[in-house]
């Protein structure tokens, strides 16, 4: 796993989870929707040894027609929305709620999707990092933002995810950027703890 320019290249074996993520993202990409993967799966993709129940995907804001189209495409490809009827999906996203899609007859893992609404989600989308995993492409959140965000979430699992990212990309992380996000998210004390760990 290494950066070539601004692209993170990962080789190795794909897990069943990676394959599920790639299948879902392929549909989003084909629909030409900008997205970014954030939170736990970013740590898992970069080697963290744990599973997850959901993959967080931030989408650019769509209008009702565009939302219907992507929901239709997901349905055609065997996905269903586990926390909403088809007709309520847009209004949920519009209300800044997440909608969860899973493969037919399954509930986990599911794709927790939401529109980019707050400053951090919009930044994650705008400054997303390209990842090439074998011959596939994914986009993930900037590492500094991801680490600060994980510290903000606050559970021990989140701290461990932040620690994994910090130690895996220590040479690549911009300390000033990390400090800036930590300040905005009010996690300077946690960041000090992470740096001392």
């Amino acid at each position: 796993m290494k950066f070539e320019g601004n692209t993170l290249k990962i080789g190795g074996e794909l897990s069943n989870l990676d394959q599920k993520v790639l299948d879902f993202i392929e549909i989003i990409t084909e629909a030409e929707i900008d997205y970014v993967i954030v939170s736990g799966y970013v740590a898992i993709l970069t080697g963290r040894s744990r599973g997850t129940e959901d993959i967080d995907v931030i989408l650019e804001e769509l209008n009702p027609g565009e939302t219907d189209q992507i929901v239709e495409k997901l349905t055609e490809n065997g996905y269903w929305c586990i926390n909403s009827g088809k007709d309520e999906i847009y209004s949920m996203l519009e209300d800044d709620l997440a909608v969860r899609f899973a493969e037919k007859d399954e509930v986990i893992p599911n794709f927790e999707t939401r529109f980019a609404r707050d400053e951090f989600e919009r930044t994650a989308l705008k400054e997303r990092i390209k990842v090439e995993i074998n011959s596939n492409t994914l986009y993930i959140s900037p590492l500094e933002l991801q680490i600060a965000y994980k510290l903000h979430l606050g559970t021990e699992k989140d701290f461990e995810d932040a620690l994994h990212l910090y130690k895996s990309f220590e040479d690549r992380i911009n300390p000033g950027e990390l400090d800036r996000y930590a300040e905005k998210l009010e996690v300077k004390v946690k960041l000090d703890e992470l740096r001392k760990t």
């Binding site: 794909l14 897990s15 069943n16 080697g47 040894s49 986990i108 021990e156 994994h164 130690k167």
Partner: protein, 61 residues
């Protein structure tokens, strides 16, 4: 039950887990992707398989 001892045990457990996370991150950094991903997949694929089996067993009941 001695709650103080329990708290101390919890603290030590957190420290040990964090130490392992650091050790594993270091392993990932310094080994070929094939080597670490194979081990990571054992954990992830087993979890997905277990959930699938649990769901199938429940639907048979």
């Amino acid at each position: 039950m001695n709650l103080e001892k329990l708290e101390e045990k919890k603290k030590k457990n957190i420290e040990q887990r964090r130490e392992f996370v650091k050790q594993w991150a270091n392993y990932v950094k310094n080994n070929p992707d094939k080597k670490w991903s194979k081990q990571q997949n054992t954990v992830i694929n087993a979890q997905i398989k277990l959930r699938k089996e649990t769901r199938e067993n429940k639907s048979r009941e």
